[in-house]
Symmetry: C2
């Protein structure tokens, strides 16, 4: 059956609304109005049902999920016994370990694979560095205050919330819907005045009280502090880890034997003094992050390994599709770069590597998209930027940003410190360039400029090489008018020259080495948000006699890799438990022994809830020398609940192989006899 | 030959000094005086030479070491291009990786081995938590300022520097030397007034200018900041990670299924706004640390695994030996605990585990000692504390502190928040306790106290159970005087009771479960200082035609495990380089390819300098199908410079086995043919 046309239904609702209003206006009978209203209600009900059918609601049980997070200590409010602090959360044992595994895998996937240079810089950052980077002046959010209570809100988030509220109206036409969605996506790109106008248009008021709001004004999001006892050195906690890598650019280039291009990477903490942290773990004041700065030649952004990912079809949500039909591109990455939709190979390569990494750690690829920044969102110096967004219960959420920042940061720091931050590449075949070479009349120029003649000569030589067209204009002007003003020269002064001082001749310059301020492609990972995404995507409720919560962590990131359970708490099993424990430890595999008196099914459920992928069960056969199953145990997989029987000495080996991604569970089903066990 | 008695020589110097003074005083001839002075000078020279001989100077080449640290980017000043910030340093690629490996190994050695519960708490900490913990009031250092320039100094460090200066005088007697050394060790335990007196006595002045100093005053070392946009929530950067674990005590106990004892652990950053950071990497303003809080029963601090370490002879520098002969204990740890020198098994267990861990990561055990805190150094609530000190070019340096903090922290937070922070243990065989059980005359007590009678009864019952001796005194007093005052009761009030209201009878109470605020044994690791210690202890200079710097990192912590070098940069070797690289990556082993045109010896030297333990060399035989060495490579070990020849497919396996501590290099010498290669 064809799905019913929603826009047709919406039009019918609108039309029937008009009928009702007209009847009332015309003073129709109560009966007539009631009948028309009833028809309107029916149409609305039909529309709502149809919307639900065509866009089924997420079945994600947020309340249960949040409860599990707290009860199993995945994430708890920091300083809870003191009432907590908004925007600060602690990780409990499972999430700590999950995060360690995530970071180690990230380092393998990016740093080890690409021979990146890792650095670790300080959180404390002096004013000067962040003044140059622009953070002192521009790292702000627009804030509004409740005009009566003074409560602070982030202006764009209030606008987003308003749009979400309005978008719930099923009678919106496609055009209306698109407009609201467009405003929602753009919310953080509006100026204070634009926000003011939109607040007025859509009636945005203080969330808690409904009071009117102040005009939006910028609030700097950096935490300030004083470094040293004198109170004279203003500092901040870093808002990102990137700056530390720019600081160290020269040393990193030297460390790399001046080989180019290369990438630096840093894993660390970032701080943002959020105005009013709500959305749980997504808007926090202190968060783990991991950033890469890939330094490359601004005129050659090819990537040697791009061919290995060109065939992938990533979920690309391009600028034009966001402003158009809202659909994803269907072309390969190679085609997208060739078509200029993705700006260059290096950017594309990191998008692909990011996609593969996120799949590897357990992000659902169906809930992932790369959204290109709109031109209005992008910094003036950036040439392209794609956010990897993940679909969560809060909606699509930016978790990784992959931006081509051009040479902006290095240039700003170089200008501020007068430290040269350049790299160079040598050309095997020299590049040829048409230039104008000056020939000087040393006497004329010497008489005119004396000690300053070298400055004038340098200026003209550089002009001829770097701006031959401007130089030609100068030559023409000299010939036509008999004199010309040049400068400002290196000393800041301007000089007037005459035709007898210099003549220019077209020449071909051979360029053997090119020196430049590198461009930077920056993949920036919000590790805290990704950890949260893993938690949400891993969570499901297993139906049965009683509902059971499961965290389907991939073995490679799971905190505990295995639980070890004797069938009961009899002492005869202790040596086996210890033996298995020792062999797991020898592979550095974290495990959890559960020798409690609870039923085995209950213990499986407890292990499932904290995401342990495998359970080893030791039973009477294991210790029965007469049994053919002597010295074997069962291994249960969490999601399929299937079990195999295998020798004790194989346990650590096979669990390790799966954790290290050298084999998968399905292979074990082939290799070992499957046993069928009913879990109560 | 017997070493010459230094004290005898010193006495001779002192005596001869007296002779010279006396001669001058007596108006002796110039000739006589000159002869006596000459003899004095000879004696002094002899003494100095003898001191040098008996206490040979460290051969550690600090200048070269510092140069390597900077040039190879092990550690560089943060924000160097802006002139740097005192006390802030960045880690370059090698040190980053070394630190990652260190932390991973720490987690294996402590968390995984002991099933500890890891948490990760925030750096930002609100005022309330640190007020309770005592840091707001007491986390201070005594500071003095140059009375003219205002430059700030840490008072104890000035005193230490002065003592070091005075201790260089070889003519000091043993007693004088002991006194100065005692002051030096105690430097950070003196009060402001005591420091003032010592400064006057020894003439301590401003280091840079020689100006007089202000009186010492306390300076709080925490970095302050504001949390939230309102500017109403004072916060700090945490000075230690410990508090986050106390905050989460209740949740951790629940996570552990209320099983007791248990330990929490946290790896993170600590911040101290050092007054005048000097000593390079040892006194920094932001530093990685790793802490364990082992929560245990205050009346039972045995440790189930103590027997496994009781036989070890640790380098224990006990309180009495510090104040006595300055020597280390020679007894086993088991004996030290039995003798009460180390307060309890749990403390001793963690000292032993720390010792084993530090050896494992490459700290020289000959340069390690556990120094017990003097009573004057220890917090009033602490029952014992041992610092693991490491001998560095800066002297003996505290790198790990292992303290029994009793129940101080939990009790303070519990009192401040009214949140109960207790644990309990069940006794299989109930403990019997002699108590006094009250029998009440309900009518008399009811008439006297009406609604408050329950409060009075509770008070008397509790008194009889918990303080039977006090209760007996009360009973005696009642009998003797006919009335007695009790209280303050639970409501804060006091009451007067009479003998007819209550009688007490001796009873035996059977205690099945004991509830208590746990004691905490806290091993606290200064990870930054330990990383620095590894760097210092790993460094040596290999003599030869030219001096070559070597970093002898243990394979398990080394940043790169292996370098891969084709004998020259011919393309025929590329497939082999790639093949070895892929197999190393499959074990997540970091490696460095050096296919430069430098000589192989030069490349070995480069690898040695950044501490790569193994080098694989691919030569012409490797690719020669006709050679019997086809598909084999050489593997060179950094420190012995020995090489073996082995099949390509074995390389990653054996390197991995050594890194994972499953085998050692010496085993490979048995297993594979050794090849002799001259390095230039």
């Amino acid at each position: 059956m064809e799905p019913i046309d929603l826009d047709g239904l919406r039009a019918a609702v609108v039309k029937q609304g008009g009928v009702v209003r007209q009847l009332k206006k015309d003073g129709a009978t109560q009966e007539e109005v009631t009948a028309a209203v009833k028809k309107l209600q029916e149409l609305k009900a039909q529309l709502e049902a149809e919307v639900k059918k065509q866009e089924p609601e997420e079945t994600f049980d947020k309340a249960t999920f949040d409860d599990v997070l707290l009860q199993k200590m995945f994430v708890v409010p920091s300083f809870e016994i003191y009432g907590g602090v908004a925007g600060l959360y602690d990780f409990g044992p499972i999430t700590c370990s999950l995060k360690s595994n995530f970071i180690n895998l990230w380092k393998q996937h990016f740093i080890l694979e690409e021979d990146m240079l890792e650095v670790e810089c300080t959180n404390l950052t002096p004013y000067c560095a962040l003044k140059t980077s622009g953070h002192v002046d521009k790292f702000t959010d627009l804030m509004v205050k409740d005009s009566k209570t003074g409560e602070c809100y982030r202006a764009d988030k209030l606008l987003e919330a308003k749009m979400d509220e309005l978008l719930k109206d099923v009678t919106l036409t496609s055009d209306q819907r698109l407009e609201l969605e467009h405003i929602r996506i753009q919310a953080d790109a509006y100026s204070a005045d634009e926000l003011d106008a939109l607040f007025a248009k859509y009636g945005v008021v203080a969330l808690a009280t409904g009071n009117p709001l102040t005009h939006p004004f910028p609030f700097n999001l950096m935490f300030g502090t004083q470094i040293g006892p004198e109170g004279t050195m203003q500092g901040f906690l870093r808002p990102e880890t990137a700056q530390g890598m720019f600081m160290n650019f020269r040393r990193l280039l030297n460390f790399n034997g001046r080989k180019f291009p290369f990438a630096a990477a840093q894993v660390g903490t970032g701080f943002r003094n959020e105005i009013s942290p709500r959305a749980g773990l997504l808007r926090v004041r202190e968060f783990p992050m991991a950033e890469i700065e890939h330094f490359c030649n601004p005129s050659d952004k090819r990537h040697p390994k791009f061919a290995s990912v060109a065939h992938l079809v990533l979920p690309l949500f391009s600028r034009s599709h966001q402003q158009g039909d809202g659909k994803l591109l269907t072309m390969t990455l190679g085609e997208a770069v060739a078509a200029g939709i993705v700006n260059n190979e290096t950017l594309g390569y990191f998008m692909a590597r990011t996609y593969l990494f996120l799949k590897r750690v357990g992000i659902d690829p169906e809930k992932m998209r790369f959204r290109q920044h709109l031109l209005t969102e992008m910094a003036h110096y950036a040439s392209d930027c794609w956010d990897c967004e993940i679909k969560l219960s809060y909606g699509w959420t930016e978790c990784v940003g992959i931006a081509d920042r051009a040479c902006f940061d290095l240039k700003m720091h170089s200008d501020a410190t007068k430290v040269e931050m350049t790299a160079s590449v040598k050309h095997d075949v020299p590049i040829e360039k048409n230039v104008l070479a000056p020939t000087f009349n040393s006497r004329a120029i010497g008489v005119a400029f004396k000690k300053e003649q070298a400055i004038v000569k340098d200026y003209l030589k550089t002009l001829g090489e770097e701006q031959p067209e401007e130089c030609q204009k100068l030559a023409d002007s000299l010939a036509a008018t008999g004199s010309a003003e040049i400068g400002p020269c290196a000393n800041g002064a301007k000089y007037t020259i005459t035709p007898e001082m210099v003549t220019f001749k077209p020449t071909v310059l051979k360029i053997h080495e090119e020196k430049f301020i590198p461009s930077v492609v920056e993949p920036s990972f919000g590790v805290g948000r990704l950890i949260y995404s893993i938690l949400e995507h891993a969570f499901y409720v297993r139906e049965g006699e009683e509902k059971r919560n499961v965290m389907a962590f991939k073995p490679t990131v799971a905190a505990f890799k295995c639980s070890v359970m004797p069938i009961n708490n009899s002492e005869q099993f202790t040596p086996i438990v210890d033996r298995i424990g020792a062999s797991l430890r020898s592979y550095a595999l974290a495990f959890k022994t559960d020798a409690s008196s609870a039923s085995i099914g209950r213990r499986y459920a407890r292990a499932d809830e904290i995401g342990i992928p495998f359970a080893v069960t030791i039973d009477f056969e294991t210790v029965d020398e007469k049994s053919e199953l002597f010295n074997t145990v069962t291994l249960r997989e969490r999601d399929s609940m299937k079990q195999v029987r295998l020798p004790i000495e194989d346990v650590a080996v096979v669990v390790n192989d799966i954790v290290k991604e050298r084999t998968v569970w399905e292979d074990l089903l082939e290799k070992y006899p499957q046993v069928s066990v009913k879990e109560e």
